[in-house]
Amino acid sequence: MTGMAVFRILLERLVLLVVASLVIFAAMNLLPGDPAAVMLGLDASPESLAALHQKLGLESSLPARYLHWISAFIRGDLGQSYIYDVPVRSLIGERLQSSLPLILLAMLLSLGAGIPLGVIAAAKRGTLLDTGLMGFLQLFKSIPDFWLAMMMTFLFSLTLHWLPSSGFPGWHAGALPALRALTLPAIALAIPQAAITARFMRSSLIETLSQDFIRTARAQGYSRRGVLWRIALPNALIPVLTLAGIQLPVLVTGTIIVESVFSLPGCGKLLLEAVNQRDIPVVQNLVMLIVASVMVLNVLMTIFVRWLDPRLEADPS
């Protein structure tokens, strides 16, 4: 990949980030509802409200507020939460302790289960196993994630008492309790994704197996199994990984829902609460961070896939 191409991609993303920041800012600041009213509650007097408005800087003009925010963001200063009155940076940092492992775990589970299942179905294409597996996956693809989460809680924690139903003890409580708390949410998050991955993996692998170079490899002496795992799979994985990159925001969305169901103190729950309470600094900066990291990950994924598939290098589109 040439330096010019990388530069162009980065520049494009930068422009997009600026647009994203404008959208986020406009949305948060044009919404009805007054953050000061939330902070002061039912008995707030108009004077108290005005005083708080002054303190929060809500009196200055919109462009001034935007510039103030974005310049601070670039410096890495995420501001102060209205509601908690602590630095947004530490708030997000704290929440990432459960959100990041959750997303990673869900990603691992969905790829770790989806890819082998897809490979098995493709290897046994047309058999009863394949049909059954695909039907099963279709079913799991169709279950609302929050309902699945509810049902799993009901079964595994409320009835069987295997895993905790909610909350997160934190990593300082030890790796095992923390992982146990993340297990059900990660599974709930991963299952629909795994189903999508498996179905995609299957069709990608079947497509790859029908290519001429598979026959070449067989003529070279590769066994059926060897050609599946060593030749076809790496090639078939490329579109699957691309899909995983595209699905990332969906996973983030799922995190918001799943964290609500399992009352996990994560970024998703923080975001939803912050939107509801008009904690503007938290929402603005958190969304900006999410959008930016999704974009960065997408760029990395693009570069990674291009590295995996040398053909794309020749074709910039």
Partner: protein, 272 residues
């Protein structure tokens, strides 16, 4: 001399219809047998059944013997040991027959990895030697190149190198020069015939290019609708064809019709 390959009454059935019917022939070491006939006559199916690579649902009957080994009853495992080592095959589509995501050196080296106990370093050396032999090094092609960076002729050389790596006793070449220009074709054929002469490699060459067949093949087998209509030493078949189909084929060839113009594939062979 005992035959290397002995095919007797080979019939192949696809799920829909019969494709090969009672084909029998023998092939001796160092000899080149050309299989010719129009498209759909079953030439490629014949090649694939010799490699044990018939598509799923295809059924073969009859006997294929490679020296003492009866191939038709071979286990999958034994087939894998045979393919690439004793049997080599080159396919006709140079554009798609190579794995686009692996370096050509790796793909050539795979044959060694699958059938020999050479060390990685030795494999590298062998691969480079092989690439020199097929003329890739001469064209400035590095083993770290990817297939899409190569011209069609270069890719065909890679495929040939992969097939020849373990010095197979039988090379099956399915129209492997069809997409190439005349000069490259000659170079490739020279490579193959040298192997026949020095190592006694037998070649089953599928081609509808009668000029090519006449020039290189020791024996010719003419196929039509899945049956062998005529076979024999090249001179006798070409000089005195028995079967009307063979006669017709030859007549067309003389008018130059059988020598197909460059296929549309050649569009892609410009070096990238």
């Amino acid at each position: 001399m005992s035959p290397l390959l002995h095919v007797r009454n080979l019939s192949v059935q696809s799920p829909e219809r019969p494709i090969l019917h009672e084909v029998s022939f023998t092939l001796e070491p160092g000899q080149i047998l050309a299989v010719t006939g129009e498209s759909g006559s079953g030439k490629s199916t014949l090649a694939l059944s010799l490699m044990g690579l018939l598509p799923p649902g295809f059924q073969a009957h009859g006997s294929i013997r490679l020296e003492e080994t009866e191939l038709s009853t071979l286990s999958q495992q034994d087939w894998c040991r045979l393919r690439g080592k004793r049997l080599g095959m080159v396919f006709q589509e140079p554009m798609t027959a190579l794995n686009p995501t692996r370096r050509i050196g790796t793909q050539i080296g795979d044959t060694f990895r699958l059938h020999t106990t050479l060390s990685p370093r030795e494999i590298d050396t062998e691969t480079r030697t092989l690439m020199e032999q097929v003329g890739l090094s001469e064209a400035g092609v590095n083993e770290r190149a990817y297939p899409h960076q190569l011209s069609g002729g270069q890719r065909q050389r890679v495929l040939l190198a992969m097939a020849l790596a373990c010095q197979p006793e039988l090379l099956i070449a399915d129209e492997f020069t069809t997409a190439l220009d005349a000069r490259t074709q000659a170079v490739m054929m020279a490579l193959v015939t040298r192997r026949c002469e020095t190592q006694g490699m037998a070649v089953l060459m599928i081609s509808h290019d009668l000029g090519l067949v006449r020039h290189y093949a020791d024996h010719v087998l003419v196929m039509k609708d899945g049956t062998c209509v005529e076979q024999g030493p090249t001179p006798s078949v070409f000089d005195a064809p028995h079967h009307p189909y063979t006669q017709a084929l030859l007549a067309m060839s003389l008018h130059g019709a059988a020598r197909t113009p460059l296929t549309p594939l050649s569009v892609f062979t410009a070096p990238s």
